[in-house]
């Protein structure tokens, strides 16, 4: 069966994306504490999903609308959820990696977590 060169480029993009997803999962297993795990997990899963859907645009050109929408959606929500997650993990005092060099957040965080929204 014959495939055009464009489709093969798309398929290789999907393959590279899946490799990045795999590396992110490997980082999730190997990294020593929550914050490093969030770092590898977010970056790798964002680029992996982005490349997968971008490759599918090459293979299925008539689906471009929904695929582009999914890409925009992933680029917008994934960093936000990892930021909220990191903040919550700091709030419940998850132990940090023992080789952590410095933590300039500690003093200010005490104040920030006590702040409340007043009903206006």
């Amino acid at each position: 069966m014959e495939n055009s060169i464009v489709e093969i480029i798309g398929a290789f993009l999907v393959l590279i994306g899946s490799v990045f997803l795999f590396l992110g999962a490997l980082g999730l297993v190997r990294m020593p504490d929550v914050f490093n795990r969030i770092q590898t997990g977010t970056k790798a899963s964002t680029l992996g999903t982005f490349l997968t859907f971008f490759g599918l645009v090459f293979i299925m050109p008539e689906w471009w609308g929904k695929l582009i929408l999914l890409i925009i959606f992933i680029l917008m929500t994934n960093p936000v959820s990892s930021h909220v997650l990191a903040r919550a993990a700091y709030c419940i005092k998850v132990p940090m990696f023992k080789k952590t060099v410095i933590d300039l957040y500690g003093k200010d965080a005490e104040k920030l977590f006590k702040k409340e929204t007043k009903n206006e």
Partner: protein
Amino acid sequence: MVKNAFIFLILIGVAMILVNLFAGFTGNVDLGQIANHYVANGPAEVGSANIVTAVVVTYRGFDTLGEVTILFLSAAIVGFFLKIENTDNTERNLKYTSEILNTASQVLVPIMILFGVYVFINGHLSPGGGFQGGAIIASGLVLMFIAQPKKEIGHKLINIIESISGVGFVLMGLAGVLFAGGFLDNNVIGLGKFGTLFSAGAIPIIYIFVGLKVGSELTGIALSLKENQNEA
């Protein structure tokens, strides 16, 4: 050690399920007698590209009305008991949310509501329908409650939308009795061209009412829980 072995056992089990799903999934292809009737006659009689929608809204439309009523009852009961529980009018002070989440939710909430409406308007063409679309709308509003605790939505507005859509659903059913074959018959306004947005007779209109009703009921439950929760 025991825990690790246990985790690996679970992982192997999940892997085998995935391989089975991927290798050869053949569903139950033989249809029963009733299912055969629906598949054979559904598209011609109802004009809906999605057989499940045809069954839920037209052939079994009365059951759907009952389900929506049950959901309404549960929402009313949750509101009622939480009102009794919280008699001292203390206002809760909610924790400070991060500014990033606030900004992201301002952009996302209108988009989520638009997507919910898309799901229930296209109910006769694609998977989805009134209940699913209503649930998406309600989750968009839950995101707003979490990320912007200061913003208020009145119970009154939700109740008005809910009552109007409930009455509209029943009126569409009665119109079926008057102008067509029976309660909730969808031949009221003609079937239209098969497979387009304005087709399948009254199904899109009924689904708009069902979606708005489900969405406002679930939002009402979330709102009561948000307002009346005591600090443990």
